[in-house]
């Protein structure tokens, strides 16, 4: 494979300086990056290994009730943290529905946010891809694209963001803490990922050298713990990306929805917050009709980018189902098959 420099900075400041150089990328668990390098999709000149940086692997509750998750916390460790799973059940469920047990043991919180699309044309270096090679064209748009985006896509790119974890996070107004050349700043997760527009190669608002150091869930995120679910339709029960997924979280007071949160996965180049749908659910009874209305609102702007019109209908239905499940209440125990429509099936014996 291509020769590259490997550096292991001792401090965050050194890391940022090292990664700000052209051709440098951060390496955490490498569950995505190393595959991309082996396939010649990414050919960095320098890997900046951040896995040894101190203080980035903590889960801490802050004085104001926020939860701060260090960027190097492993996906599995976070999901299996009992306090975390109790307070943010949809996030734990999403984490456990992602990838495979082995990958979850390695993958980090920060890395999950910045994983690349699974568009086959992005991975196939013989194909044209505006994301991989700006201006070269998009072979997905007239290709095998049943899994591609139905929201927020552009003529130049129809890829989706594949994360499960990000979907409930964006619904819960997660905040991303970033250390950059000009110091520390924070942005809403919803603003981290960019829609493709005419520059699909720019997937996030991060600048060279920017390092995600933590993800924070604001105090209000705990308010949804009693009614929060993540649901994921996939083509096999584990180790498969979502065809479509949805995170639904409700705050129910006196039989009415005081506040709803809804986000979709697998439909766009970013985790898709459905605010218009949330709005119609404010202060109404949690009924199937209301959820149908919300589902129509959530997908109002959807249009197929290829052979994927079914994803729009599927997304509507999964929104309704996720909301119904959320309204019914978070299960006392995480389902044996997290995020699966079959989780409640008797006889489901697999974890």
């Amino acid at each position: 494979m291509k020769q590259f420099d490997y550096v292991r900075p001792g401090t965050i400041t050194e890391a940022v300086a090292a990664a700000a150089q052209p051709g440098a990328v951060y390496l955490a668990a490498g569950t995505n990056l190393l595959d991309l390098m082996k396939g010649g999709v990414s050919r960095p000149d320098r890997l900046v290994d951040v896995t040894h940086l101190e203080g980035l692997d903590q889960i801490e509750t802050l004085a104001d009730g926020s939860l701060r998750i260090g960027a190097l916390v492993r996906n599995a460790d976070l999901a299996h943290d009992a306090d975390f799973a109790r307070s943010y059940p949809a996030v734990a469920e999403a984490l456990l529905s992602g990838a495979s047990a082995q990958l979850r043991n390695a993958a980090t919180v920060g890395g999950n946010l910045l994983q690349r699309t699974r568009c086959a044309y992005f991975y196939d270096t013989a194909s044209r891809c505006n994301k991989r090679e700006p201006g070269s064209g998009c072979d997905a748009s007239d290709g095998e694209n049943r899994g591609h985006a139905v929201l927020g896509w552009s003529e130049s790119c129809i890829a989706t963001h594949p994360s499960d974890f990000c979907v409930p996070l964006v619904a819960l107004d997660a905040i991303v803490e970033i250390e950059g050349r000009t110091g520390r700043r924070e942005i809403a997760l919803d603003e981290l990922h960019r829609l493709p527009g005419d520059a699909p190669e720019r997937e996030s608002v991060l600048e060279p050298g920017d390092l995600i150091v933590a993800v924070r869930l604001p105090p209000a995120a705990r308010g949804f713990a009693a009614h929060a679910r993540y649901l994921k339709v996939r083509e096999r029960t584990s180790y498969a990306f979502a065809v479509v997924s949805a995170a639904a979280a409700l705050r129910i007071e006196n039989g009415r929805i005081a506040e709803a949160r809804l986000a979709l996965g697998g439909v766009a180049a970013k985790p898709w917050r459905a605010r218009a749908a949330e709005d119609v659910l404010r202060n109404v009874a949690p009924t199937a009709d209301a959820f149908q209305e919300a589902a129509w609102r959530a997908l109002a702007d959807a249009k197929p980018s290829g052979d994927n019109a079914f994803k729009i209908e599927l997304a509507r239905r999964i929104v309704v189902r996720a909301l119904l499940l959320a309204a019914a209440g978070t299960p006392a125990r995480l389902p044996a098959l997290p995020a699966s429509p079959f989780a409640s099936t008797s006889g489901a014996i697999h974890a």
Partner: protein, 753 residues
């Protein structure tokens, strides 16, 4: 195999004969402790690493390769290209026998499919070889790729599968359809599938003068040896192939393919040992696959649900440069009695690596279509699918009219249905729901696979210490040959399994035939059985003709071999141990050879097949269209069962392949470029554990005196047949939606639920 110590496992307890005992894998301890040496684990001194560069276009020509850039890369030793390669002794495109397929070994700059090898970079490290291959940066002259089942003019292939006629006629199909009370016509599509063995194709090749040493997983040691010999112009005795373990083959490692040949060429070019291991995506091209099919079935039935006609046509593809045709329609030859049966095939040529045998070639693809169609016609007749199948039970093989050598299919239906609870199945679809509101459906399919045999030879010996030796170049692909064949060997020489040194997996041993066609246990087992009998007969000669022996005068027929002793049949108090017989005779070792082969007279007289019945339950989410199999029961009759544990595993595996066929597996080909877009195990879906429900396998005893001396039929492939159709039929029964394109996808169900 001096490096193998298969008796390191705890000694097996034996109760009576070895055959029939559920011994655990004798190679199991080696494997779970990482001491089983697979081909790519070998590192002879001075070894270099080779990496293939493969074509990213499906059709055209390589115009240039930047060999200089690759050679400049540190560690790169040489770059093998069409202009720089060792000469072969014969043109690799000449088909010297029907089991020779054309391969790409850098004959020219022409490109015939995506992922075709176009150069090999040889380097001191794998990393350097890989980067060298990337630096070749090929430029191409690109021609439009031929892709898909409608890529061009269709034609009728001369033969399908292995030498089967492309068309069969029996009775008047059109008249049968015209007279039918109920008719169905339906078109089913199956996708390209790839073997995806866990172990990629790999070779470590070392030349010493004109002697060649090869570590390579193969399902066919002697076929590979013969192919290497003719390609490199050396005699068989100068080639040594070691293949003690395969990490799966499924048909893709049966015949010598291009990539391992390139490994041998590379070793010759650089004069050092070379290792070449395919990357996962490189297995989607030069090492075979299951071709896609489009099958049209027309069935007619009379007022009582008897088939009046069965017409099965299959369209498939082959490569532009060679011929292999998935014999899908042939699945309709044996299962159901009909006065008129027609099977036919046609094909188009596409830019693909040549399709090849993949677990149950023809039977798997044909079975899912036939079993779906049988379900459709049963429904048209208002009949229970099992009742319909019993009504059309073939008492003799339908087209040939031959009686079956044995056929316990009725018992399979009965036992499977009882275990599954089939009697409670509502006739109408979409009648059952579980507590959670999920749709529940039950479906079934009949399984069938021919009982084949090839040619094999074995050498047996009894040593002075009373222990035995059995030598045969057999292949353990994970199916358990190290164990099951050793059990046959132990019985053949009348010893406990741990007292027989069972040697297999190398090319210097007698030819075991190919491990394919579900025929390996039968073929190799017959040779072992015959060699064992022969050596015991020689030992008996020594004893019964020696007046110092208690067996003197007993005659060959008068002794039996048991527990290391020859015993007078009519007086078991008179016996002598093997060691005593050989010691007195002053012989260090006594040996004999035996052969296994199909019996042409029996084949002329009988149709020979294994059978089974598979029952599946699925649950379908009524809004989301997601399907999950929740229960499967398979009952199989496959002659004598040598090792029930291995057989159960084989049948489990086959049923999982069937589930995978119905719901998961598909290679996605870009219709413009001809490239496979999901050539990795992340995106080419096979089931994970959580997709596989509790499986229940019943084996139905069958005594078959005709198939071979041991009565073995083989279980390697039958499990996939029947199972795929059972799942598909269960999806229909759950939903009322008949999906005819496989794998069944969410979008097909979503809009119709």
């Amino acid at each position: 195999m001096p490096e193998l110590n298969l008796t390191s496992a705890p000694a097996h307890l034996r109760h009576g004969s070895n055959i029939g005992q559920p011994l655990t894998r004798r190679d199991g301890v080696l494997k779970v402790t990482g001491r089983a040496t697979y081909a790519a684990d070998n590192h002879p001194p001075g070894m270099l690493f080779a990496a293939m560069a493969v074509s990213s276009i499906a059709r055209g020509r390589v115009v240039s390769l930047d060999v200089a850039a690759a050679k400049r890369h540190p560690g790169v030793v040489d770059v093998m290209t069409p202009d720089h390669k060792p000469a072969l002794a014969i043109d690799p495109d000449i088909k010297t026998n029907p089991f020779v397929f054309r391969m790409e070994v850098l004959q020219s700059s022409e490109v015939r499919y995506a992922n075709q090898p176009i150069a090999v970079v040889i380097a001191e490290t794998l990393e350097a070889a890989t980067e060298g291959a990337a630096l070749l940066a090929p430029r191409y002259e690109v021609l439009p790729a031929l892709v898909g089942l409608d890529a061009g003019e269709s034609y009728v292939p001369p033969v399908v599968g292995v030498g089967n006629p492309a068309e069969h006629h029996h009775g008047d199909v059109e008249a049968g359809l015209a007279s039918a009370e109920k008719q169905i016509e339906a078109v089913y599509e199956t996708p390209p599938q790839y073997h995806n063995a866990m172990e990629p194709h790999a070779i470590v090749a070392s030349w010493d003068g004109d002697h060649l040493s090869v570590d390579m997983p193969t399902q066919g040691l002697m076929l590979s040896l013969a192919r290497i010999a003719e390609l490199f112009g050396i005699t068989h005795d100068k080639i040594h192939i070691r293949s003690p373990f395969l990490g799966g083959g499924f048909g893709s490692k049966g015949l010598m393919a291009g990539p391992p040949t390139l490994g041998i060429m590379a070793a010759k070019l650089v004069g050092r040992p070379v290792k070449l291991v395919l990357r996962r995506e490189q297995m989607y091209g030069p090492v075979g696959h299951r071709a896609p099919t489009r099958q049209r079935l027309r069935l007619g039935a009379d007022g009582e649900g008897r088939l009046t006609a069965l017409d099965h046509h299959a369209r498939t593809v082959s490569s532009t440069f060679d011929d292999f045709y998935e014999p899908a329609a042939d699945a309709s030859h044996t299962l159901y009695a009909a006065p008129a049966i027609r099977t036919s095939h046609d094909a188009v040529r596409v830019n693909t690596g040549t399709p090849l045998f993949m677990r149950a070639p023809g039977e798997a693809t044909g079975s899912i279509a036939l079993e779906s169609a049988i379900d459709e016609v049963a429904w048209a007749c208002g009949m229970d699918p099992l009742a319909f199948r019993l009504k059309n039970y073939a008492e003799v093989e339908p087209i040939s009219g031959k009686p079956f050598s044995s056929k316990a299919l009725r018992a399979c239906y009965e036992k499977g249905a009882t275990r599954f609870g089939w009697a409670k199945r509502p006739l109408q679809p979409r009648q059952m729901r579980d507590d959670a509101g999920l749709l529940v459906g039950w479906g079934m399919g009949t399984a069938t696979f021919p009982a084949l045999m090839f040619q094999a030879e074995a050498r047996a010996a009894i040593r002075r210490d009373g222990s035995g030796v059995m030598e045969i170049g057999a292949h353990d692909m994970g199916q358990g040959a190290w164990t099951a064949l050793a059990q046959i060997a132990a019985d053949a020489v009348g010893l406990d399994v741990d007292r027989v040194e069972f040697k297999a997996g190398t090319s210097d041993l007698p030819d075991a035939g190919i491990a394919g066609g579900s025929a390996h246990t039968a073929t190799a087992g017959a040779a072992i059985h015959s060699a064992g009998a022969a050596v015991i007969a020689r030992l008996a000669d020594l004893a019964t003709t020696d007046e110092r022996s208690p067996l003197f005068g007993a005659g060959n027929a008068g002794v039996i071999a048991r527990d290391g002793r020859l015993i007078r049949r009519d007086d078991e108090s008179r016996s002598e141990s093997y060691a005593e017989i050989l010691a007195r005779a002053g012989v260090a070792e006594i040996e004999a050879r035996g052969t296994g082969a199909p019996n042409p007279a029996a084949m002329e007289e009988y149709a020979m097949h294994a059978h089974g019945a598979v029952f599946a339950e699925v649950k379908v989410d009524p809004e989301l269209g997601q399907v999950r199999v929740t229960r499967m029961v398979g009952a199989f009759a496959a002659g004598r069962i040598v090792n029930p544990r291995m057989v159960q595993s084989q049948l489990f595996g086959g049923m999982i392949w069937g589930l995978s066929f119905a719901l998961h597996e598909e290679a996605i080909t870009d219709r413009r470029s001809g490239r496979i877009m999901n050539a990795n195990l992340g995106e080419y879906h096979i089931p994970v554990n959580a997709d596989v429900p509790p499986l229940d396998v019943i084996t139905v005893e069958e005594h078959d005196p005709h198939v071979n001396a041991l009565g073995i039929k083989g279980v390697g492939e039958i499990g996939i047949t029947g199972s795929a159709g059972a799942v598909a039929n269960a999806v229909w029964h759950a939903t009322g939606v008949r999906v005819r394109r496989f794998p069944i996808r969410i979008e097909e169900l979503l809009t119709q639920l």
